[in-house]
Symmetry: C2
């Protein structure tokens, strides 16, 4: 029944030969690898605005444009730096592989841990942001937001367990639609701006403070803090470099071009959105929840779409639902990345090797389930609050950026291939920028949750190393060092609670196993024991019957003691303990019988040097 | 560790010879067997008053005295009837045994089910009433009343699992103290009444209706209803007849005298309390909860004690705590009765025979745990509301009364022993009275919960008969009909996932079991399979290696299929399947290894005709 339910949910098994690798042309590769990065435009500008208006008031809002431009530049620097990585690693420039190659195992494990955490957060953040956009459009869903998040993760997990062939089209339509609609939104705002018809929005009411009150100078600290918030715009840009082998040849060149296009689209959309938000004086609708945390009730995208196209217009809903779609698509990309990286780590023995198993739908099922479970847990723990999850996400991503660029610096210095000085310069500058941003992030966002990631990553590295040590120890112990010699002598003990067919069945089996059989009976009822003794020679001639006292009426204690004695002075090589058992026809009937057999089995399971066998007799009715 | 915790809670095991049977003199037998019955004075008068004042107003309160006198007479009739039962069954006149002897198995099972339900309700009702008295004295505890009830049941269960020797003194002190204090309470009231200093209490405020409004004639229906409420005064009076063998000889005579004393004390206390309550115009403090159910906040005993001795006096607290003590003592009596009756029913194969096991503290541990669990469940389901539980209790008790007296009528008519005509007259009148009261109870209290009991009892009888049928069928199937013949041929299959020490260990064991060994390998990785084939003759010369395809990479499916084939065309008598397994040193390490062995074992557990053995290899680190 469980089996049927599984088939219904995830489909029939697929034979191994269905595994294949299709190559993607650039116009399909862009949506497949860029949906994650592009989806961050849905929340990056809003993230800059929240600290500015909450801590600096409306006066500080003007800073969002310079900050956005700085982040846009950072994005372009990191993208250019990644083109060098792609050139050097055309077979796949995953941060884990690149840092393993250049910085050694330990650093690569840090990178791997950072990436795994990042993938879990991609799912959590994207789902939370998607639900946030949905709730902005349909506020009545607000009270179900945690359930909607869990539902989204569950659906993504099931879809990925089915292992639907990801034709590029599934990605292409929503991604290109989203890009088109975002450009329309920015274009609409720019048109109003240049035509002079732009009407700034009324001053918003914000919780906790009177906006506009703060008229003093905006501090450098506040600007740096807002900058760290905006860095979420960069999340996901490494995806192209991970996926180089999926491009049509020449892979590295095509991937670099795609990365360039993606960076240009992302930067222009992000800066464009920041510009029109600034011109409209738009801020997201936020409230404080009962724990005094910031919760976004009406996203910036929703506020802007309503301001430019009107609130109940078709265009408004198009924009909202297209944003929801790209965010869930972004979450989906982690369902390919996390199981693949887990399988790399597991193949290197740093994770349980079940993660390398390809399930009967030809996907890494275990990795998918782990990812779904962890991100659902995270969403419940953070109550689906995207704003609270983003600091964790950003810090994990910048660790990977820094390690990836840093690896390339080492790589250029070591190999000095043609063009190494340009590569070194570009990657070196990239590494410098991302490491500075990482430090700023760690400093400013530490208390907001970044500390969790800074604890989890070393903990994961310790776990990786512990798992590796265990597997290496097992491998040493299991290796066949010499051919096995014959060990033919077997002493068989049969536990005999009384006289019935179940016991004689087990005694027959015992005789088939060895000429050296003993029956063991625990005396809890002297009358029954006497009866057993009298009948014994007739029922089991030739098998010695050992009778053990049990002053406290326990069966387990004396049995275990006798087995220890028998183990110590056994004459042969093996000691087999047979537990006779009968199996009732129906499940409920089990409660009507002593579970002594089961308890004995559990007690004996953890004893070395014996083989325990339940000899089952099947009842007919 | 679990073992140590158990020892701490319930003590070290006791050897069997500690089982003994002390005989009780009358002055100790009275408290042991009467605490349950006497404790009902704590709630019986209050139960009469609640329907009278709520449905008839203060004008109806005057009816409490005639109703109490009628119940007092009923109590004496039933007690006299029971003396005849004691005479006829000096070895123990439990309703189950008596009705089994006279009315046949089916009726005795109804009686048994009624008694079991009654014992569960004794615990629930007595605890609920005890907590009610406690809360009356210390109102601040009111919000914890359900937790206090569960705590009380837990403590009673643990105390009884320890099997503390019930010296009569443990019962005697609280019981005699309670009787003394109740007589003092009644005496105090009577003194004020006769000295003319009695001040009636002010008219109470009651929820839901204006008391005093109803001045019309009191209906017969209301009086009958109030009567059924008061019948809870009779609960527990059958206890003496169950315990005849515990009396000093002559058992029957001493038991009858004790029963008479108990009935006199109970009737006089009950009628006395009703009388002074009537004179004071006292009613319990009741409120309606959110489900519109009646909840007693200040018990009648508490109201009376406060009226006669003053609210914050030492005497008031003495009375309250002594009432709490006798109620918990009453609950405790069911902890002796329920496990004993369960063990009788289990010995007759109507209940799981684990209920006949005497635990290591020489008590029927399983019965005690079942009783504690069920009564705690009931208390939680009824939110510890005594008033709601009492209809269930009363109906169960009157079923037993009627069956017990009815059995005696049949007994006298059948055996016609000396004095049969007097016995027949007394038991016949008793049976008539209790059966009429049973019908009145069933009619008036049906909707209030009596229906639950009238469904549960037949359901229990069906369960008893189903269990019996199963045991009889098992017994037939397990009986040894002929001496076993030799079945020596054993085919051994070893499941071989690869080449390592664990597998060679299992192959060695297989060779020790039988000359007829086959190794089975599932091909999920052609490379590994080839390696296995090449190495095989060196590692396991002479053992044929069977290689099975698995297009969907599943190990379980092909294994099960091959076993079915091997079962069908096996050459010998037995088919043994060996599953090689290694055991890591630490528990957490299990997650790092495939659980294929475990899954195979579970899948094979339910296959007939094979013996499955896990051959374990123990890792060192």
């Amino acid at each position: 029944m469980i089996h049927k339910f599984k088939r219904l949910l995830i489909g029939a098994p697929l034979p191994s030969e269905h595994l294949d690798h299709t190559r993607l042309p650039k116009f399909l590769a862009l949506p497949v690898f860029a949906s994650d990065a592009l989806s961050s435009t849905a929340y990056a500008t809003q993230e800059i605005l929240i600290p500015l208006v909450l801590m600096g008031g409306l006066a500080a809002m003007g800073w969002s444009m310079p900050i956005s431009i700085a982040i846009g530049l950072l994005l372009i620097i990191v993208s250019i730096s990644y083109t060098q990585t792609i050139k050097a690693y055309p077979k796949g420039a995953s941060c884990y592989l690149v840092s393993k190659d250049n910085l050694g195992t330990l650093i690569s494990l840090i990178a791997g841990a950072g990436l795994l955490v990042g993938y879990i957060l991609t799912v959590a953040v994207s789902c939370a942001a998607g639900v946030e956009q949905l709730v902005s459009a349909i506020p009545v869903l607000g009270r179900y937001s945690v359930s909607l998040n869990v539902l989204a993760v569950t659906i993504l997990t099931l879809v990925n367990l089915r292992g639907a062939k990801e034709s590029g089209a599934v990605f292409a339509i929503p991604t290109y639609l989203f890009v088109f609609l975002m450009y329309t939104l920015v274009g609409g705002g720019l048109y109003q701006y240049f035509s002079g018809s732009l009407q700034p929005l009324p001053t918003p009411t914000l919780p906790g403070l009177e906006v506009g009150d703060v008229a003093g100078p905006v501090s450098v600290i506040l600007i740096l803090r807002a900058f760290t918030h905006g860095c979420t715009a960069l999340t996901g840009i490494e995806a192209v470099s991970d996926g180089v082998p999926a491009f049509q040849p020449p892979e590295a060149k095509n991937a670099s071009i795609t990365l360039g296009i993606m960076a240009a689209v992302l930067a222009s959309l992000f800066v464009g959105l920041s510009f029109i938000a600034d011109q409209y004086g738009a801020v997201p609708g936020i409230v404080l929840n009962e724990h005094n945390e910031i919760v976004v009730k009406n996203s910036l995208i929703s506020v802007l779409a309503a301001a430019i196209f009107g609130h109940s217009t078709l265009m408004y809903y198009f924009i909202q639902f297209s944003t929801v779609a790209i965010l869930f698509l972004a979450a989906n990309t982690a369902y390919a990345d996390f199981p693949r990286l887990s399988s790399f780590l597991a193949a290197d023995r740093f994770l349980p090797h079940q993660l390398t198993n390809i399930g009967d739908r030809l996907v890494y099922s275990n990795g998918i389930v782990v990812l779904g479970g962890l991100s659902a847990l995270l969403l419940v723990a953070f109550q689906g609050n995207n704003h609270a999850l983003l600091p964790l996400y950003a810090i994990g991503v910048f660790i990977s950026f820094t390690l990836s660029q840093g690896s390339m610096v080492v790589n250029w210095l070591r190999d000095r291939r043609p063009g190494w000085s340009l590569g070194l310069a570009l990657n070196g500058f990239g590494a410098l920028c991302t490491s500075v941003v990482f430090l700023v992030l760690a400093y400013f966002r530490f208390a907001e949750g970044a500390w969790i990631v800074l604890i989890v990553i070393p903990a994961l590295v310790v776990m990786f190393l512990t798992i590796k040590r265990h597997y290496m120890s097992v491998r040493r112990q299991l290796a066949i060092e010499q051919l096995p010699r014959a060990l033919n002598h077997n002493t068989v003990l049969v536990l005999v609670p009384g006289l019935n067919v179940v016991v004689t069945h087990a005694l027959q089996y015992a005789r088939a196993l060895s000429p050296n059989v003993r029956a063991v009976h625990i005396d809890t009822d002297p009358e029954a024991t006497n009866h057993l003794k009298q009948m014994w020679d007739e029922v089991a001639p030739g098998i010695p019957l050992v009778i053990l006292d049990s002053p406290y009426r326990s069966v387990i204690g004396p049995t275990l003691e006798y087995i220890e004695v028998a183990k110590a002075d056994r004459s042969g090589d093996w000691l087999t303990v047979l537990i006779p058992e009968f199996v009732p026809r129906k499940l409920w009937q089990h409660v009507l019988h002593n579970q002594t057999g089961l308890i004995l089995k559990l007690a004996l399971m953890f004893r070395e040097g014996i083989v325990v066998t339940n000899v089952r007799y099947w009842l007919r009715a």
